[in-house]
């Protein structure tokens, strides 16, 4: 199984040059049954990553560009009167898919945002008083541009919590940049990507995540990390139990990606920054913590003893 994941990562990395770590995180997020928030400037490959992932997994992929005049029904669907049958017929919105790319999520109104986020959490939508299950697996990648904030509705902290991870891709390194400049347009290559996974495979993998063994030592370490967020005084609030669960889930997914059947602190450390950074507010800067801040803080927490 892990070989398939490795293959998936390799395939995506072919189009998203030099971003192996981000790709791995995205895959881990998907395997951990979480949703991914990508925060970046335009043109850094957010959409490419989503498209490539969709293709490599063979999931039913849809993309929604969020705008300020968008209504919840545009996302979830609506009932239409069918003259022929004389009945209302439900028209499924774009959310009825296995893999949704929600582009620029902070452009739409809070009402629409919360419709999406509710669907992400519940894995179902309620329209006309009837709840409808979303297909399985269901994976959302949302993107937002953190810098041009005019006319946007930033996601509140409680909504951010719904995303398992938040990553940013950043600029490519010199070699990757060169390759891009030499004319190999990644989007054109997407068609070359091979599908290495089936939706059913993904479901099995998601099941297998919980089989990853976590020893007492590593559980202690996880708890120490969580406790430290609450007591170290570096953060405004500590991590919630849901946040702690997210860390464990993501770590296990990463362990699986690494081809191990047990959880090691390496896995925890690999995912802790993307899992925690949008859930913690730094006391010194007042804003959300940066990845670097968290990585430095994690180094101060002993892996064995308090």
């Amino acid at each position: 199984m892990p070989n398939q994941l490795e293959a998936a990562v390799e395939q995506v990395s072919r189009v998203l040059l030099g971003k192996n770590h981000a790709v791995r995180l995205a895959v881990a997020c998907m395997v951990a049954r979480g949703h991914l928030l990508i925060e970046d400037l335009p043109g850094l490959g957010k959409t490419t990553l989503a498209q490539a992932l969709g293709r490599v997994t063979g999931l039913d992929y849809k993309r929604v560009q969020f705008t300020s005049d968008m209504l919840p029904a545009d996302l979830t669907g609506f009932s239409m009167f069918d003259k022929e049958s004389g009945k209302f017929q439900f028209q499924e919105g774009p959310i009825f898919c296995q893999f949704l790319l929600a582009d620029e999520i902070n452009r739409c109104s809070p009402k629409t945002q919360s419709a999406l986020l509710e669907a992400m959490e519940e894995r179902q939508v309620s329209v006309d008083g009837e709840s409808r299950k979303l297909p399985e697996p269901f994976f959302v990648i949302a993107t937002q541009n953190p810098h041009s904030l005019a006319g946007t509705f930033p996601l509140p902290e409680s909504q951010l919590d719904r995303f398992l991870m938040r990553i940013s891709l950043g600029y490519p390194d010199a070699a990757a940049e060169r390759e891009i400049l030499e004319g190999r347009n990644p989007r054109e290559n997407i068609s070359e990507i091979e599908q290495v996974l089936l939706a059913e495979h993904l479901l099995t993998l998601q099941e297998a995540v919980s089989q990853v063994k976590a020893s007492d030592v590593v559980m202690d370490y996880l708890q120490r990390l969580i406790k430290a967020t609450r007591e170290s005084g570096l953060f405004v609030h500590g991590i919630s139990p849901r946040g702690g669960l997210a860390l464990m889930q993501a770590s296990k997914a990463w362990a699986m990606l690494e081809g191990r059947d047990y959880l090691s602190p390496d896995d925890v450390q690999a995912v802790v920054a993307p899992v925690f950074s949008h859930r913690l507010n730094s006391r010194t800067s007042g804003g959300q913590t940066s990845v670097v801040e968290i990585e430095q803080w994690v180094e101060t927490i002993d892996i064995l003893a308090s």
Binding site: P154, P156, E157, K213, S215, V217, V218, E231, G233, V236, R260, D261, Y262, L263, S264, P265, D266, Q269, N281, R283, T284, G286, G287, Q288, V298, E299, T300, I301, D302, I303, L304, A305, S306
Partner: protein, 684 residues
């Protein structure tokens, strides 16, 4: 997006004290300062109450902090007050007052933990200071309570400053944990108390004179002993080895007053080395024993007692006739008294062996003594003088003179605490006009009459009787037990005891001063609420006696624990003490104590509870650290290997293997302890 509450300056925010923490501080400070208010002027109490109530107001209602200008102004004001009260400001009172005021003002301006710490440390100091004033068991318990409360306040104040403690989150838990700490420290305290050398204090706290001088003085004039009956303060306690002698034989001698100027009786001998007309005998000094010692025959059954004397700032001690003592610095005088080389500024304990059946050879009264004890100024009391001369002319012996005088007293005089003020011919006035008086009036009339009749006589002052506390087989002697009596010289018998009070009011001697005087309005007038006034209320009296016996135990076992008792204890435990043996015992004790502390530290350490492999991993990490590898506590085994590969010149496959083994052991549940042990041994 960000909670606005936390965007204020993080520095001050970080250290702000919560209301619950402040509340604990208020409690600790109030209890700690409570006892010391009895020893400083009233304005200090007011000065302290203001900050505490201000702080309470802020706690309850909220409100602005006082500006620093106000506190600075208050500090200047307080210093001025101190200078006004005591100039120069030297001594215990001004210093403790300054300390309390500092503490109160610091408390007033306190907002952050650093300032709270100052207040807390001052609290510890104040709790100790009150023990300089009083050392009763109750004061000690109060000090313990203060320290426990202060510890709790500190425990609270040093807690996580991020947590907002409100009154809702109040719990006694910190008190519990501090109580536990205190409990654990008790054995060590006992060991230190029992075995640490008793070092005498390096300095003496100057006690202001008006406060310390209490009890009888070396000048007796009519009414001066009556003054003491107004006070129920304790003068001293006496513990007896055997049965307590009957009350009528308990004459505690303090002073012998031979010099009379017509108004007052004094002892003009200023030096402790010459007292009562002879050289004072200090046992243990290398001077030969004075000659007068041969004239006293210490005979009969000796009486052993331990006196626990309250401070008087004077040199004289209290003992039954004829006292002997082997204590260092204590001297026996020719007048059968004990004196101390140093004034008694703290509570002292001394052992006395008295010989109640002593005899004096009484061969000669040397001419200086004779002159001194016969001298009367010419101009005063002509009528008494006339009476004495008429009696003397009848050829009466000294004993007959005394018995005749006593029968006169018995028939015509009354014993009263407050006979009123007397004029210059006070003895005439007492003898013939008023015929009422207190013990000093009778005593001085007796001595005057005897001297006028040509018999050498002198006044002895001290205390008579005492209240028996059956709980501890000891006597409590109060100021109102002060007494004066007479002694006259008989050829061949020496100085003979004569107490005129036995003639006029035998109840005073048989039942004690309190029984006789309790109806008198002046009795204990200075201690209106004294428990001694309420001895007729049974349960109160019971309580008073119990409280005093607890204090007696405290004084005799804790405060009175001195080098001598320590030595006795050591001897009891270890037999005879040679220097070599002492050194061995001390080293063994030191090793045992250190061992116990070390064992305890190890026993409670987290380290002990961790599995061996975890400790091995720690060792492994420190080994890498020594090899020059930069490590962080959060580095995983694989990261350690990577780091070592980059930075450790001695990196080898062993380190890689160990890292892998550790990872498998901790996280994959592989039992590879033997391999780890083997690889770790390989290095060493």
């Amino acid at each position: 997006m960000v909670n606005q509450k936390f965007t204020s300056s993080p520095k001050t925010e970080k250290l702000q004290l919560s209301r619950l923490q402040q509340g604990w501080l208020v409690l600790a400070l109030s209890v700690t300062c409570l006892p010391i208010w009895f020893y400083v002027p009233i304005w200090v109490a007011i000065f302290c109450l203001v900050p505490i109530s201000w702080r309470l107001r802020v706690l309850w209602k909220g409100g602005a902090q006082l500006s620093r200008k106000v506190t600075a102004g208050l500090a200047v004001l307080a210093s001025a007050f101190v200078l006004w009260q005591w100039y120069p400001p030297i001594g215990l009172e001004p210093m403790s007052t300054l300390l309390i005021i500092c503490c109160a003002l610091k408390f007033l301006e306190m907002r952050v933990i650093r300032e709270a710490r100052t207040v807390l440390y001052l609290c510890y100091f104040i709790a100790a200071i009150q023990l300089i004033y009083e050392q009763t068991v109750f004061h000690f318990l109060l000090a313990v309570l203060s320290i426990i409360l202060t510890l709790t306040a500190q425990n609270m104040a040093e807690r996580d400053p991020w947590q907002q403690y409100s009154f809702k989150s109040f719990s006694l838990f910190p008190l519990k944990s501090v109580g536990w700490i205190a409990l654990v420290s008790i054995p060590l305290t006992i060991i230190i108390f029992l075995f640490a050398p008793r070092v005498p204090s390096f300095w003496v706290v100057p006690v202001s004179e008006d406060q310390a001088v209490s009890g009888i003085s070396d000048t007796m004039s009519p009414g001066s002993i009556g003054e003491l009956a107004r006070s129920s303060k304790l003068a001293f306690r006496v513990g007896f080895e055997d049965e307590v002698p009957p009350r009528r034989s308990l004459y505690w001698r303090a002073l012998v007053l031979s010099d009379y100027d017509g108004q007052a009786w004094t002892n003009r001998e200023n030096f402790m080395t010459i007292q009562d007309g002879g050289r004072t005998h200090f046992p243990g000094s290398n001077r030969p024993a004075p000659e007068w010692l041969d004239e006293i025959l210490y005979e009969g059954q000796p009486l052993e007692d331990d006196v626990y004397q309250e401070p008087t700032s004077q040199h004289w001690l209290f003992a039954l006739a004829a006292p002997t003592s082997q204590e260092n610095g204590l001297g026996m005088t020719k007048g059968l008294r004990l004196v101390s080389r140093q004034p008694i500024t703290q509570r002292v304990k001394y052992s006395v062996t008295s010989y109640p059946d002593y005899r004096m050879t009484g061969d000669v009264l040397d001419y200086r003594d004779r002159y001194r004890n016969l001298h009367l100024p010419d101009e005063f009391n002509p009528r008494t003088r006339e009476l004495a001369e008429s009696w003397a002319s009848q050829g009466l012996s000294p004993d007959q003179l005394v018995s005749r005088l006593f029968s006169l007293f018995r028939s015509e005089h009354t014993y009263t605490l407050n006979p009123g003020a007397f004029g210059t011919d006070s003895i005439d006035e007492f003898m013939f006009d008023r015929t009422r008086g207190f013990c000093e009036h009778f005593a001085q009339a007796t001595v005057f009459l005897l001297r006028a009749a040509g018999v050498p006589a002198r006044i002895v002052s001290g205390y008579q009787g005492g209240e028996l506390n059956a709980d501890g087989n000891y006597l409590m002697v109060y100021q109102y037990d002060a007494h004066a009596w007479a002694e006259y010289w008989v050829e061949g018998r020496g100085w003979v005891h004569a107490d005129p009070t036995t003639a006029v009011s035998p109840e005073r001697i048989e039942m004690g001063a309190r029984e006789i005087l309790k109806e008198d309005p002046d009795f204990l007038a200075d201690d209106v609420f004294s428990l001694a006034r309420m001895q007729d209320i049974n349960w109160l009296n019971w309580l008073r006696l119990r409280m005093d016996s607890v204090n007696y135990l405290w004084v005799s076992w804790i405060l009175g624990y001195d080098n001598e008792q320590q030595f006795d204890l050591w001897q009891g435990l270890f037999g005879d003490l040679s220097i070599k043996r002492l050194m061995i015992i001390l080293s063994v004790l030191a090793v045992l104590i250190m061992g116990a502390i070390g064992f305890n530290l190890w026993w409670i350490s987290e380290e002990r509870k961790r599995p061996r492999t975890q400790r091995q991993f720690d060792q492994f990490r420190s080994e890498l650290l020594k090899a020059g590898v930069d490590l962080e506590p959060g580095f995983t085994p694989s990261r350690l290997a990577e780091q070592s590969r980059g930075q450790n010149p001695n990196h080898d496959s062993r380190i890689d293997a160990l890292c892998q083994l550790f990872e498998q052991h901790f996280y994959a549940g592989v039992d590879n302890r033997q391999k780890i042990n083997a690889l770790l041994k390989k290095k060493s």
